[in-house]
C-alpha cells in the first residue's frame, strides 16, 4: 500500500476572481484599481513593497501563495527546509521575455534592464514565494503544455516519500499576455481533519483545477 498524503487546501486565481478552499473570496471591480493584481494586493492588505518590482508572473504566483497560506502559519508546523515548492506552467517566463526582447531590439537606444532580465526565468516565482514565506526546501519548476495532474502528483509524491520535505505547495502558475491562471495546492503528509481536505491524488488535483469560477 502506498503512502497517502492530504490536500489540505487549495486556491484558484482565474477570470478576475479568487477562490480559496472552494469559496469565492474576491472578484475584481473594474471601477477600482487599474489592474486586477494590484486590486488583489490591496484587498489582502499585503504591505509588501517588493510586489511592485515583480513581473506579472511573479505577482500572480505570489498572490496565489498569499491566498493559499494566509493564517496558516506553516512555519509553526514545519521547519522552513521541510516545505517544498513544485510549480509548472506552459509559457515559462515568455511574457517578460517579450518585454525584455523589446528593450534590446533597438541598438540605438540600447539599455538592457537588469530588473527586467532577472525575471526572464520561470523559477523566479518560486524564489519570490520562498523569500516572502521563508521556505528553504526542495523546489523545481517544470514546463508542460497544459496542466498535468498525473505528473504533478508523481513529482510531489516522490519527494514526500523521500522524506526530505513534509509539506509541499504545488500547482500551476501560468501567464501569457492577457491569459493568466493560478491553481495552487497545499499538500501535507498529515493534516487535522477539516472541511475541504481531500486525499492527494491525480483525480482530485484535476477536479479542483477544473472548478468553474
Amino acid at each position: 500500500m502506498e503512502e497517502l498524503y492530504i490536500i489540505s487546501d487549495h486556491c484558484i486565481i482565474r477570470n478576475n476572481s479568487v477562490v480559496s478552499g472552494g469559496k469565492k473570496v474576491f472578484e475584481y471591480d473594474r471601477g477600482g484599481e487599474p489592474s486586477f493584481f494590484t486590486a488583489l494586493y490591496r484587498h489582502f492588505d499585503l504591505n509588501y513593497p517588493k510586489f511592485f518590482k515583480m513581473d506579472n508572473l511573479c505577482k500572480l504566483g505570489l498572490l496565489a501563495s498569499e491566498v493559499l497560506l494566509r493564517e496558516k502559519n506553516i512555519l509553526r508546523r514545519y521547519p522552513g527546509d521541510q516545505v517544498g515548492l513544485i510549480l509548472s506552467n506552459a509559457a515559462s517566463s515568455i511574457d517578460t521575455d517579450r518585454n525584455y526582447q523589446i528593450s534590446i531590439n533597438d541598438r540605438t537606444g540600447y539599455f538592457p534592464s537588469p530588473s527586467v532580465f532577472v525575471y526572464t526565468l520561470a523559477n523566479i516565482v518560486i524564489g519570490e514565494i520562498s523569500i516572502r514565506q521563508k521556505f528553504l526546501g526542495e523546489s523545481t519548476f517544470f514546463i508542460e503544455e497544459k496542466f498535468n495532474p498525473e505528473r504533478l502528483y508523481t513529482q510531489v509524491k516522490l519527494i514526500l516519500d523521500e522524506g526530505i520535505i513534509s509539506c509541499c505547495i504545488c500547482g500551476w502558475v501560468e501567464l501569457d499576455g492577457d491569459h493568466y491562471e493560478a491553481v495552487l495546492y497545499l499538500v501535507e503528509k498529515s493534516a487535522p481533519l477539516a472541511d475541504g481536505i481531500a486525499i492527494f491524488e491525480p483525480e482530485k488535483l484535476h477536479e479542483i483545477f477544473l472548478q468553474r469560477i
Binding site: M1, I94, Y110, T120, N123, I131, Q155, D161
Partner: protein, 403 residues
C-alpha cells in the same frame, strides 16, 4: 537516525514513522555526450581538458552584442554538418540541432529501448529557442517555437519517444535537477531508463542580460581566483543516460547516480545568500542519504565574486573544506541549462578514470573561507563525486555520484 527500506511495488505495508527512506535500486550512468566549444563527444572534451585548453575566446559579433565579448561557442558549421546525418538543418533551429546531435551520440554508445514505455526523456534548459524571439527577417521559424513544450513535442516526434518528455526549466541548476528527477523516477520504479539532456545557447538575449548585471568577465573566467571578475557565457549540450538495469551497463565498474536534492536561500532573487543557506541545506540532506564519503566536489564556480564566495561558505559549513574541489567553467564557460549535465558527465568521467582536472583560470585563492581548490590535473583514486550548483531565484542543488 532511522532509515527504513520501503518497497514501491505496492505489496509492502506503509511505513508511518520514517524520517528517511532509501531504496535498494541502483541507478547507472550507461552513456553520455558533451557538445561544446571543445568538441562533439565526451572524449573530445576530456582530451581538451587533459591538455588544459579553454574553449572561451573573444568574439566580435554584432548580431550578438554591440561590443566584443568573451564566450565559449559551438562551431556552427560543424554542428550543421553533423546534423545533416539526422535531418535537414534548414528545418531545425540551432538549439534543436544541438540537442538532437547530443542525444544521438549518447544513444549510439549503448543499447536501450528508445521508443519503449519505460523510457523517459528529460530536457533541461533555461531559454531554449529564445533567439527566435527577435524575429529576424528571413527566419523560417515562428516565434511560437520559443515555447519549450513545443520543443519537447518536436523532440518526442523526432525520436519517437513513447512518453511525453519532461522539461525542467529552473535557472542554472536545471541540469542537476533533471538528473536528480530522472534518478528518483528510476528508483521509484516509475521508469526503467531516462535520457537527460541539458542545452542552452549563447544569445543576444542572455549576453545582454548578464552584461546589464555587470557580471561578465573580460577574458576567460577565473573560478575561485583572487582576481576573478565575473563569468564567461558558454553554450552546449550534454546528455546522460540513466537506467536501473545493471545489465545495460557497459563498464565493469559503472558510475552510479546517488541521492540529490535542492534547497532555496529564501533571501534574494539574484544575489546568493551570504551564509550559503540553500546550498548548505541541499548538501546536508544529500550527504545524510549517502552511504559513502565525498572524495571530490565539482563546484558551480562561475567566477563571479559572490557565487564563489558563497560556495566556499557553504562547503565549510558542510565540513567539506578539505575535499578536493574544482570548477569546469574555465574550460566551458557557464552553459546555463547544459551546465548541470555536462559538468556531471565530466565529474562522472573523473570518477571512472580516477583523475582530477585543474580548475582552469585559478591561480591564487580568492575566497574568505578556505577550500581545497584543485590546482593541476593529476591521477587520484576516487570513489565518489558531489556535484553542486546554484542559480537565480535562490535555488541550489547537490547530487552524489559514486562507483
Amino acid at each position: 537516525m532511522k532509515i527504513l527500506v520501503v518497497s514501491y511495488n505496492n505489496t509492502q505495508p506503509t511505513t508511518h514513522n520514517t524520517q528517511l527512506t532509501t531504496s535498494l535500486q541502483d541507478v547507472y550512468l550507461i552513456s553520455d555526450n558533451i557538445i561544446s566549444s571543445l568538441g562533439f563527444t565526451t572524449e573530445e572534451n576530456m582530451a581538451s581538458f587533459r591538455e588544459g585548453h579553454t574553449g572561451i575566446k573573444e568574439y566580435d559579433d554584432l548580431d550578438l552584442a554591440p561590443a566584443p565579448f568573451w564566450a565559449s561557442r559551438v562551431d556552427n558549421e560543424e554542428l550543421s554538418g553533423r546534423f545533416t546525418v539526422f535531418g535537414n538543418p534548414a528545418e531545425y533551429t540551432r538549439f534543436e540541432q544541438l540537442v538532437i546531435c547530443s542525444v544521438k551520440d549518447a544513444l549510439s554508445r549503448c543499447t536501450i529501448d528508445i521508443t519503449g514505455k519505460g523510457t523517459l526523456f528529460i530536457l533541461s534548459t533555461t531559454k531554449g529557442n529564445i533567439d527566435l524571439l527577435k524575429g529576424n527577417k528571413g527566419d523560417p521559424f515562428e516565434k511560437s517555437r520559443t515555447y519549450l513544450w513545443y520543443t519537447a513535442h518536436l523532440l518526442q516526434r523526432f525520436f519517437n519517444f513513447h512518453t511525453q518528455p519532461l522539461i525542467v526549466s529552473n535557472a542554472c541548476i536545471s541540469g542537476v535537477l533533471a538528473i536528480i528527477e530522472g534518478a528518483r523516477l528510476i528508483r521509484a520504479n516509475r521508469v526503467d531508463t531516462v535520457i537527460v539532456t541539458g542545452a542552452d545557447l549563447v544569445t543576444e538575449f542572455v549576453l545582454s542580460g548578464f552584461n546589464s548585471f555587470q557580471s561578465l568577465s573580460k577574458g576567460p573566467c577565473r573560478p575561485f581566483d583572487k582576481n576573478r571578475q565575473g563569468l564567461s557565457l558558454g553554450e552546449g549540450a550534454g546528455t546522460v543516460i540513466l537506467t536501473g538495469d545493471a545489465s545495460l551497463a557497459l563498464s565493469n565498474c559503472p558510475v552510479k547516480a546517488g541521492y540529490g536534492c535542492s534547497g532555496n536561500d529564501a533571501n534574494h532573487i539574484s544575489g546568493p545568500s551570504r551564509t550559503g543557506e540553500g546550498l548548505y541545506l541541499a548538501i546536508k540532506h544529500t550527504l545524510e542519504r549517502s552511504t559513502v564519503p565525498v572524495d571530490y566536489i565539482s563546484a558551480h564556480g562561475t567566477a563571479t565574486p559572490y557565487n564563489d564566495e558563497m560556495e566556499s561558505v557553504a562547503l565549510n559549513r558542510a565540513g567539506l573544506q578539505e575535499v578536493p574541489v574544482n570548477s569546469f567553467k574555465g574550460y566551458w564557460g557557464h552553459t546555463l541549462g547544459a551546465a548541470g549535465v555536462i559538468e556531471s558527465v565530466a565529474g562522472a568521467y573523473s570518477l571512472a578514470n580516477n583523475i582530477l582536472f585543474h580548475t582552469l583560470g585559478y591561480v591564487e585563492p580568492g575566497v574568505t573561507h578556505p577550500v581545497a581548490i584543485i590546482d593541476g590535473t593529476f591521477a587520484k583514486n576516487l570513489g565518489s563525486c558531489l556535484k553542486i550548483a546554484s542559480g537565480f531565484g535562490g535555488c541550489n542543488a547537490a547530487l552524489m555520484f559514486h562507483k
